[in-house]
Amino acid sequence: MRRLAIPVLLLAACDGQDSLGSLAFKRSDESGAAPIALSASTCVLSVAASKYRPWGLYVFAEVPLDSSLIGVLEIDVPEAGEPKPDRVIYRELEGIREVFHSQAVAGQVTLLGPPRERRGEFELVFAEGKKMRTLKGSFSPPQRDLPGFDAGEVTPSSGGDVGVQVDDSGCDSTDTSSSDSDGCDGSDSGGSSSSGDSCDGSSSSGDSCDGSSSGGGDSCGGSDGGGAGCSGDAGGGGCSGDAHAARSYRLMTRTRTPGALALRIATWLLPYAIVGAIVQLWRRRVRRRAVALT
């Protein structure tokens, strides 16, 4: 066992590294203009840099908006539990001057699998005074297609939740073919739209609102804009009873099935088991040779 310590340590060293990735979103603002599809010129996905590591994911992306304007999106969400209010940030920079900075966010981030898979979708509405930015998109590591996202316009809501859903049910297979971006090359993806259901509606939405208004699959973020939803943030007779408006962060309940957990543990242990088996085979072979020589 001690002999395996160093290979195990080295294997562990290779796990959890930061990786470059792809991120694309559709951006719209308070003007009511049609959303514009954009993709990141720089995108890094990191479990190690997440405040919630190893059960969280940190995403940093720089998205050129035009020749002089860059959008900077940071998402740091836990796999389970409530995200901190100040860890989901969107800024727009003109040089080093900030023209938009918001940590007042509503919406939802859906992780497609555990954080180490680094795939997810988001639908976020950021507010700064009267300014508003709506971002709806997805991210993924390199060599993986971006998960598709619903091309429909996101309805801005003045008050809402940021929730995290982790979809262990393989939701990504539903619409990976319809992603609308080529990744981090900095080029616009041409605005082609994705179609199909997003994971939001199909996974664990029924238990996302403290069980009070499971309804027909609407997420909390979308449903509480009018005040009648399940978050109860803005005086809408909701579930939680909190009364702060736009900066409310609540978790959408995550469904983690024991089977998925067992599968995850098995995939962690598999490389170590293979190394152990190889070592055992090698030792047996050496022993046989020694016996043959004697």
Partner: protein, 190 residues
């Protein structure tokens, strides 16, 4: 009595020095253009074959280094701190030049627990902790002043992996995935 093999080993151990432990306080230039403090501890076991001038030691080494940086490579107002806990194993080849002067070369491989923090104005502090593989190569000069005690100097080059660094990207900087350290050495031999 000396025919007993155990006695040969005991006699050998009593008459020679086959183990050493070194403390290595020094300074280190990190992945960013900054210098910080470092402290290493290295232990080894070995010796030479009969008639061989070089001496060979299997070595284990631990080092802790901390480097602060807030210079121009970062975005304005940003400040970073990077801490490394290295653990490495390898080989030392020591060559006596002119007594009591010896030179040695170390080659080690291992891993580092790299912890980084990035403070940003008006934004939450970012921090990251991850294990990274490393290789270390060192050249040292040793003065064996006494049988059981030596002093010296050592220069070390550490190579790290080239994987992306989320904090560096968020800070708008490019890291050099290597470190260079200079240290004094205080060794005990037994």
């Amino acid at each position: 009595m000396l025919r007993h093999p155990g006695m040969h080993v005991a006699l050998l151990l009593l008459t020679g020095q086959f183990f050493f432990v070194e403390a290595q306080p020094g300074i280190e230039a990190g992945e960013e253009p900054a210098v910080g403090q470092a402290l290493g501890v290295e232990a080894g076991m070995g010796g030479s074959w009969r008639g061989s001038l070089p001496r060979f030691f299997l070595v284990a080494r631990y080092e802790r280094a901390a480097i602060d940086y807030s210079g121009g490579a970062l975005q304005p107002g940003y400040a970073s701190r990077r801490e490394y806990d290295d653990l490495a194993f390898g080989l030392r080849i020591l060559i006596p030049v002119v007594e009591p002067v010896r030179i040695y070369f170390d080659a080690l491989a291992g891993t580092t627990d790299a912890h980084a923090q990035l403070a940003r104005p008006d934004l939450p502090m970012l921090d990251s902790e991850r294990f990274r593989p490393l290789g270390q190569f060192a050249l040292g000069l040793q003065f064996r002043l006494f049988t059981h005690f030596s002093v010296g100097v050592r220069a070390q080059y550490t190579v790290l992996d080239h994987s992306p660094d989320a904090l560096a990207i968020a800070a708008g900087e490019r890291l050099d995935p290597s470190r260079l350290s200079l240290s004094a050495t205080l060794g005990v031999h037994f």
